[in-house]
Symmetry: C2
DNA sequence: AAATACAATCGTAATATTGCGATATATATG
DNA sequence: CATATATATCGCAATATTACGATTGTATTT
């Protein structure tokens, strides 16, 4: 095996899991923090900031882009990566609802 | 390779990534939802609810336990799994801070 | 003590992820 | 057009994840 059985879960469960998975790597957390912190946000800068090879950064950016967490627009030679506000909002909502469903009082053990 | 370079990231980035990773699977999302929804929360029930083998569920539970997202207490023959309130609180805080750092107005592209 | 019930672990196969060097591609600039 | 700069993609090796049957462990019943 080694293949997630997506068909037995709901669309929402799969989508939320996918978004979390895209963020579930320290390099991608760091990349997102850099993008948020910087006004301009370029791949090259990230390579200098983080201690990873250019190919590796590019791959992480691709994954974030596939999950639609970020979006990139070509700006001359460079590419400007930014947060995708739609997805960000969706994630905040979905994850918030998920986390909020638990009330500490409910604990039985 | 194939080994995440945890040493080049901060403790917080690694911890948050680890917690998200533990949740970044539809089966584990579903398991957590079940645990939250149910008053009692037992592995056997999960096997019936989700369409996965007992060994698979047990493995997912182990991962959630390793990440300290859930905790299990032995209750006779069964094991009662519950949310770990400490970790849940930590995750809400850390992820909240991370997500909140982004303001939609900051977008440049 | 034997049988039963529930959950954990082992072993294994299939697939995915991580990281990087090398190479390709695309856009400026001289 | 040649060259420099920035990013993407390819190909590969190492490791991790997902899933499950089979087995083992552990507590409760009979």
């Amino acid at each position: 095996m080694g293949l997630t059985k997506t068909e037995i879960f709901t669309e929402e469960q799969n989508r939320l899991a996918g978004l979390l998975k895209a963020m579930a790597h320290p390099a991608r957390i760091a990349i997102l923090q850099q993008i948020i912190a910087a006004k301009s946000c370029i791949c090259g800068d990230l390579v200098e900031e983080l201690g990873l090879a250019q190919a590796t950064i590019s791959q992480h950016l691709k994954e974030l882009k596939n999950a639609e967490i970020i979006q990139g627009t070509i700006e001359g030679v460079r590419v400007c990566y930014c947060i995708n506000p739609e997805t960000w909002k969706l994630l905040e909502k979905q994850f918030g609802a998920f986390m909020g469903a638990y009330k500490a009082e409910t604990n039985c053990c």
